[in-house]
Amino acid sequence: MDAVYSIIPAGVFSQVFVGLSRTTILFIVASGLTLILGVLRIPNVAHGSLYMIGAFTAFSVTKLTGGGSEGFWLALVIAPLAVACISLIAERGMFQFLYEREHLMLLLLTFAISLIFGDLVKLVWGSEYKSVPVPHMFQGFVPLFGGLPFPLYNLFLLAAGPVVAILLWLLTNKTKMGKIARAAAVDREMVGAVGINVSRVFAIVFVIGCYLAGLGGVLVAPTVSVTLGMDHNLIMEAFLIVIMGGLGNIWGALLGALIFGLTQSLGILIWPKFGIIFPYLAVVAVLLFRPTGLLKSTW
């Protein structure tokens, strides 16, 4: 290994792996977004708010279970479900009437909902910073790559990403529901015509997509401070990832998240001061050469 480090500094490896773990959160959130975009054609700006609600709910759950770090596992189960419930209400109460509307209108509607959610979160949880402790078994770090520390929790995230990706793939490709959803994404009249309740399929897909936003929120909570406005940064990144990967393509979301996460963490090494522009440059480059994203879009 030392021979390798003499060519490529250990820091680069560490950076890459940290970038990958960051990718996990981005991927989970973006995959939900792309699922909803691909099947329901809703550019869901409120997705970021659901992510925020997921994080705040995770805080409440860990707090209610005594503030111990083990509450995290309970939160991991409960918080995304809570988010899914909220989204089910939103879908049945609102979106199901609007599927035929102009995309711009749906964009506006979801933006309005994100404004409402933003203020509701402030009403419910107040304005203090919140913090969710790292679960006990993942506290601390392991020395990796020439002794540079790598947080255990990031390792956990690295493992979680592929698991979610595979489960999603199984869901969309191996289950009947997934196949119907994919067919509906291509031609919803046709699916309706063969006697399938498209509206119910849409509701399920929407809820699954939002569940993923909540899951992302829970997973990110131990690494950051849970604050108002945490939806803001994320939603733009998630949209860019989805666009880069190809609308509606889950593997595209994975690829987009990889590119986004890696360009960001490697950009810091190349040009520290302007590291943050690299992901945007990547999006520009991708769209210039592949105007509809890297992988096949369902649109």
Partner: protein, 409 residues
């Protein structure tokens, strides 16, 4: 058909116009029976955690003053506006407060850009403006004028205070990191320049800057660790404070390389993390509810806790003292005159929960002590607090009048 459309559109615009312009102008009271203060601040997003303290501290003092009969027989009243961290909206709201609500005094904001824009407006309108949380040194420096007052520390003061304390430590090889915006750069720069002046042998090993609101610091930390500096200056603000500390703990950075953050030892950063915050982080702050352990501070803390069921933080003190100064200023002036208020406030000293505080006459900067400390566990609290506190007196870490007035245009 088109003409109907145009005609209709026009009438709609006119009706909309009349609708808005015809609306009553809020709660305008009978003229001059009260002293009106307009607060423009951010009550949306992460900054809210600080701005609510300012507002609550201010409210506490105002209630106290009004219960005693007000000032010159008049009660103090205040109106708040949420600028949502957007300077264009903040400026519009300040204008609304002055032109429509007819406030006598403006107050706010956590956003430096808004503070500077409102300050410029206050100067034109000759309205006293009390800056309660923005840390920009330009407010009383480069863009200072006689109507603006800075009621909290600024980046020049933070940098100098930290440099004084850090110079006493044995570290030589420094790494500088921070939020890539004015606040981060200003703190890092003044700190570094002052440190080099006091201790010329210090070296800079490197720098890293991340975007404001960055949530994952692990990549930056591994980069810094690879460079092996003795000490890191971390110039972050807001929620970045907690995020960085969490990442420092997770990567073991806090055990390997000591680092400094302004407000690292402050309640808003440490309390949310409970016992999980890293120990041994150096920081500066202007207020603790537990230090100094004097009767006046205890009384203030108790009062604040009874009213709002939480401990006061730096913003609370800043808001509280702003109200006190406004009241005492008017009393000393003896009349409700803005120019007289400003004259009265210059060089005025008041007893605060943490000892006497004065407004410096030359630049309208509040003179307040700075505390340097290190995060430590304390059996009395369920979260980490500042330990090993050293007090840096205002006169030692404030830029001199000459230095401030030199940059003023």
């Amino acid at each position: 058909m088109m003409k109907k459309r145009v005609l209709l559109s026009l009438s709609m615009v006119c009706i909309a116009g009349l609708f808005f312009f015809g609306l009553p102008t809020g709660c305008s009271p009978a003229a001059q029976n009260t002293i009106k203060v307009g607060i423009v601040d951010t009550y949306t997003g992460p900054a809210t955690t600080f701005t609510m303290d300012v507002q609550d501290g201010f409210k506490l003092a105002v209630n106290e003053i009004n219960a005693k009969g007000g000032v010159l027989g008049k009660k103090i009243e205040f109106a708040t506006r949420d600028e949502k961290f957007k300077p264009d909206i903040g400026l519009a709201m300040a204008k609304e407060l002055v032109l429509n609500e007819k406030v006598d005094i403006l107050m706010g904001t956590i956003n430096s850009a808004t503070a500077l824009a409102v300050s410029d407006f206050a100067k034109k309108e000759k309205i006293p403006f009390f800056v309660t949380f923005s840390k920009s040194e330009k407010i009383i420096g480069e863009k200072g004028h006689q109507y603006v007052f800075n009621m909290n520390e600024n980046t020049a003061m933070i940098g100098k205070a930290a440099a004084i304390s850090l110079a006493k430590k044995p570290y030589v090889k420094y790494w500088i990191a921070g939020d890539d915006y004015e606040y981060g750069h200003a703190i890092a720069e003044t700190l570094w320049n002052n440190l080099k002046k006091i201790k010329p042998q210090v070296q800079k090993a490197g720098e890293s800057w991340w975007k404001v609101g960055e949530s994952d610091f692990t990549p930056y930390i591994t980069q810094i660790l690879a460079a092996k500096p003795d000490f890191i200056i971390v110039a972050t603000g807001g929620s970045g404070m907690v995020n960085f500390q969490k990442a420092a703990k997770a990567t073991g950075l806090s055990q390997k390389i000591p680092f400094y953050q302004h407000t690292a030892i402050e309640l808003s950063v440490l309390k949310p993390q409970e016992m999980n915050a890293p120990e041994g982080v150096f920081g500066t702050a202007n207020y603790f509810f537990y230090y100094p352990d004097t009767p006046s501070n205890k009384a203030f803390v108790n009062e604040f806790k009874t009213a709002y069921n939480r401990e006061p933080r730096i913003g609370a003190l800043s808001g509280y003292m702003t109200a006190k100064f406004i009241a005492e200023g008017y009393k000393k002036a003896g009349k409700l005159d803005k120019e007289a208020l400003i004259k009265a406030l210059e060089n005025m000293s008041l007893e605060s929960p943490v000892g006497p505080m004065a407004i410096r006459g030359c630049d309208h900067q509040l003179e307040l002590p700075m505390y340097f400390g290190v995060t430590a566990k304390n059996p009395k609290y369920g979260y980490l607090v500042a330990g090993d506190i050293q007090v840096i007196q205002a006169k030692d870490y404030m830029p001199t009048c000459e230095e401030v007035l030199k940059v003023r245009k």
